[in-house]
């Protein structure tokens, strides 16, 4: 992208030229992981302890689950997906996406919905003049905002809700794949599609230049299959034109004007992203740990508070006793820097629980063999576990792990706080 040497060109083509067989295996692994996650969320008894490592610990109260699945999905998979699309290439993600893969189920079975065209059955396609073809961005963006709302209200930390959410999403992709030919799910329904368009602009950072790759028939993340001789061939049915999978830059310039809803989606996206994280912080009702220590990923009773107002501008617990409260608007690194600075100043430690030092969901949390506890109750044995923190690296943003102090009990009514609330 940033040069024209053949080495750079080859690097940029890598995602497009990666063998389809390899991509196919990767897709199977991802979809298997997706279903494994769903199974573990909906039926924890079937999933081994690997993903119930109890990151947070038992001390948070009964409203918190012990399932790391939500954190893995929302905290790891989703940001990683965004990172891959933005820093690497949309081609990589679009060749591997498990939902896109699932949506091809009926095509693989040869059982897609057929419509009669001039007396002969043809696989149904989204027609260029149809409402869906003209307004799909609006539909997708509405689904995106609805998805974010659902996440904040119910799905964030509740394993059952997340499991159902993921299951319904897969089923929706499969249903759309039955109803329409091609990658109709990706092009017309998936809420991530406009986000991808926004993230890559004319071309992703390491994306290939399809319009100058004259020697290649199958470009970028174009649909492809492998014939009986092992040769890759196009499987494109032109479900959308121009297509982001074939030539993302052409798609970009074509949609610069006249693509209904795209300008709104593009310009509203930064605000929505910021608001999303601020709302998530505010759901902690004054407890910074809720966001910084990722308690939200375990808050399985967040749905119980949907009728309660959001204490958006309520002051946070002060970092040090007597210090003025600060509003929950700072991103994580700035919060951590603030804590670190206060500690260097030798001020007494505040009441805030800092994020675990060096602990990841799958690392230092104690594990149990034998029967697992349910999602909501805590056994007396586990309350005796040693939660001694590991030492923090010197000079890092990360504060040393304290003996965590119990946060406010969320099971009761939210404390009414001064200031605006929603």
């Amino acid at each position: 992208m940033l040069g024209s040497t053949s080495l750079q060109v080859e690097a940029m083509r890598a995602f497009s030229l990666a063998p389809e067989r390899v991509a196919h295996v990767a897709r199977w692994l991802l979809i298997a992981g997706w279903f494994y996650l769903i199974l573990s969320l909906l039926a924890p008894g079937f999933a081994p302890d690997l993903i119930s490592a109890r990151l947070i610990g038992d001390h948070l109260g009964t409203q918190y689950s012990d399932h790391d699945g939500p954190l893995i999905f929302w905290g790891l998979v989703v940001p990683l997906g965004v990172l891959v699309i933005f820093v690497l290439s949309h081609e990589l993600w679009r060749r591997l996406c498990p939902l896109a893969f699932a949506s091809q189920l009926f095509r693989a079975l040869g059982k897609q919905r057929l419509v009669m065209v001039k007396g002969r059955p043809n696989v149904a396609k989204v027609l260029p003049d149809s409402w869906l073809a003209k307004n799909h961005i609006k539909l997708q963006w509405s689904l995106f905002i609805a998805g974010l709302t659902l996440r904040l209200l119910v799905v964030n930390g509740n394993p059952i809700a997340l499991g159902l959410f993921l299951l319904v999403t897969v089923l929706a992709a499969v249903a759309v794949g039955w109803a329409y030919g091609g990658k109709a799910w990706c092009q017309y329904f998936c809420p991530m599609a406009p986000v991808q368009s926004i993230l890559i602009g004319p071309r992703s950072y390491l994306g290939g230049a399809a319009h100058t790759d004259t020697g290649i028939k199958i470009t970028q993340s174009m649909c492809r299959t492998v014939d009986g001789h092992g040769k890759e061939q196009s499987a494109c049915v032109a479900c959308q034109s121009p297509c982001i999978d074939i030539d993302s830059e052409r798609s970009y310039w074509s949609s610069l004007a006249g693509k209904r809803g795209l300008s709104w989606a593009w310009y509203s996206y930064p605000g929505i992203v910021l608001a999303f994280f601020l709302i998530m912080q505010a759901q902690g009702d004054g407890n910074p740990s809720y966001f910084l220590a990722r308690h939200w990923a375990y808050d399985q009773q967040v749905w119980a508070r949907i009728g309660k107002p959001l204490a958006f501008f309520a002051p946070q617990k002060p970092l040090v006793p007597g210090a003025p409260p600060h509003a929950p608007v700072l991103p994580t690194p700035l919060e951590l820097q603030l804590q670190d600075n206060l500690r260097r100043l030798g001020l007494p430690e505040g009441t805030m629980a800092s994020p675990p030092s060096g602990r990841t969901p799958l690392s230092s949390a104690p594990r149990h063999g034998g029967a697992r506890s349910s999602g909501s109750r805590v056994s007396a044995d586990r309350q005796q576990e040693d939660h001694t923190p590991s030492p923090s690296p010197s000079g890092s943003l990360n504060a040393p792990l304290e003996s965590p102090v119990l946060p406010p009990d969320f099971s009761g009514s939210a404390t009414s706080r001064p200031g605006s609330s929603f």
């Binding site: 260029p128 926004i198 994280f277 690296p393």
Partner: protein
């Protein structure tokens, strides 16, 4: 106000989105004004493009300021590393995309397509490549290289230009109505003119009537489906024994597979048959082309005769006949190509031999200049001679409204207005699908806005035509000459 979260959360998200939208719209507006004042053409497009880039950068950096895919690993250093990578990536990406626009993309596309056409000539161009390969040349260098195409230069250049235009139009990378302007640099490199561009468009439209009718998206969709179906059919027919060369000889399992391919392809019946025909019966496919082209060719010859009959010495009819000859050239080239693989006993060949007698020498010469040998079988007199029927003159002029050359369309409309004003008004409202809008002769001949009526325009055009060279002039030449201002006179067409 204590709204429950069920209401306040979607409200807040929408509100934040709205505020963000309004902010960036203001940024876009301000940028558009600023760029406009700086004299940048297409300021609004530039502003929209750049504002979108800014919105992306802001959004992605906000996202990773809060989200840490390393989950606090390594004491938060992992998260900081991710943020740094995102920041550096976004800035670099912004700088790259900031100067990019649609024209750059189209230019690169044209250059890439031209590169593809020049690759087979690499050996002939080795002396100017200075040790490099064609693939190593930059976009500018490719255009420069096209200027030195050797041997039979015009033929090579026209062929190369035709292939590039066909490639770009079928992929939807160039807008057909603006193709003349967008490919100006390419034509300049190849030493071609606007007339050559229109000739190429006629050729392409003749080979593929839908190329003008379909918009870029539909054309691309069609090409993608054809290409995918072609690959599957290649595999399918490769696996067949040699004696299975017709649909009748396929087994039921093979037919089912063929039907699956057809169903998945989404191709219309006509395309599907054409595609199958290429694999099963090449002669049949050629005969279909011959049949179609002969009808068009006969109609063109009849239209030509109709124009000459009605000219009554008016030199402008000569120009229109010349324009019609351009269409004849395209069809003749297609016919010659189809006859090469046609069944020698085909009755269409006989009809072609008959019609070819009436082709003007100038058209034959032009076809030969395109590199096609004028090989026509001897006509068989008395056997199935076609009957000529002269079409009415208004109909001929009406058909010329869809000529790729906007000057021809304008002149034809003007002449039609003289004959049948009501019909001309209706024709003027018809869109020139996939073509440049017709010229406005009043604007061409009276740039300072003085009103001109049809008679005045016709007089000026007649006066502008060089009677000696009228046999080769196209309408655009006369319009250009008239726009320079030639003395009014009405030379008569020599019989």
């Amino acid at each position: 106000m204590n709204l429950p979260r069920l209401v306040s959360i979607p409200l807040l998200l929408s509100l934040a989105g709205t505020v963000s939208y309004l902010l960036f719209r203001e940024v876009e507006r301000t940028m558009a004004v600023s760029l406009g004042q700086a004299g940048r053409s297409g300021a609004e497009d530039w502003a929209q493009h750049r504002t979108r880039l800014l919105a992306t950068c802001v959004a992605v950096n906000i996202f990773f300021a809060y989200a840490d895919p390393t989950l606090g690993a390594f004491g938060g250093v992992g998260g900081q590393l991710v943020r740094t990578i995102v920041l550096v990536t976004s800035v670099t990406w912004l700088l790259w995309a900031w100067q990019r626009d649609r024209r750059t993309y189209q230019r690169e596309s044209a250059s890439a397509s031209l590169r593809k056409q020049l690759l087979p000539l690499e050996q002939e161009l080795i002396s100017v490549l200075d040790g490099r390969t064609i693939n190593e040349l930059s976009c500018d260098e490719i255009f420069a290289l096209a200027k030195v195409l050797p041997q039979q230069r015009k033929v090579n250049c026209l062929r190369v230009y035709r292939e590039v235009v066909a490639d770009l139009i079928s992929c939807g990378r160039v807008d057909k109505p603006q193709a003349l302007l967008q490919l100006e640099e390419l034509r300049s490199s190849l030493g071609l003119t606007a007339d050559d561009h229109f000739a190429v468009i006629r050729d392409l439209a003749n080979d593929d009537p839908e190329i003008l009718a379909l918009d870029a998206s539909r054309l691309e969709s069609r090409e993608l489906r054809l290409e995918a179906a072609r690959e599957k059919l290649s595999d399918f027919f490769e696996g067949l024994p040699d004696d299975q060369d017709s649909l009748r000889s396929l087994t039921s399992r093979q037919r089912r597979r063929l039907e699956e391919i057809r169903r998945e392809s989404g191709l219309s019946e006509e395309y599907w048959k054409g595609l199958i025909g290429q694999y099963l019966d090449l002669q049949l496919a050629s005969s279909l082309v011959l049949e179609r082209e002969l009808k068009v060719f006969k109609l063109l010859l009849e239209s030509r005769a109709s124009l000459l009959n009605a000219s009554d010495g008016d030199i402008l009819y000569r120009l229109v006949v010349n324009a019609l000859d351009q269409q004849l050239i395209s069809v003749a080239v297609a016919l010659l190509r189809a006859t090469q693989s046609a069944d020698p006993e085909s009755p269409f060949l006989r009809d072609w031999a008959f019609l070819a007698q009436w082709v003007p020498k100038a058209v034959v010469a032009s076809v030969q200049q395109r590199g096609m040998a004028w090989s026509v079988p001897d006509p068989v007199v008395g056997l199935g001679d076609l009957q000529f029927k002269l079409p009415p003159l208004p109909g001929v002029l009406e058909a010329l409204w869809q000529d790729p050359d906007p000057a021809t369309a304008a002149l034809a409309l003007l002449m039609l207005r003289n004959l049948e004003p009501a019909l001309a008004s209706a024709v003027a409202l018809r869109p020139r699908v996939g073509l440049e809008p017709a010229l406005r002769l009043e604007d061409q001949l009276s740039p300072n806005g003085d009103p001109l009526d049809d008679e005045q325009i016709l007089s000026r055009l007649r006066a502008a035509v060089d009677i000696e060279a009228a046999g080769s002039w196209l309408p655009v030449r006369a319009i250009e000459q008239a726009a320079c201002g030639s003395p009014p006179s009405a030379p008569q067409l020599k019989p």
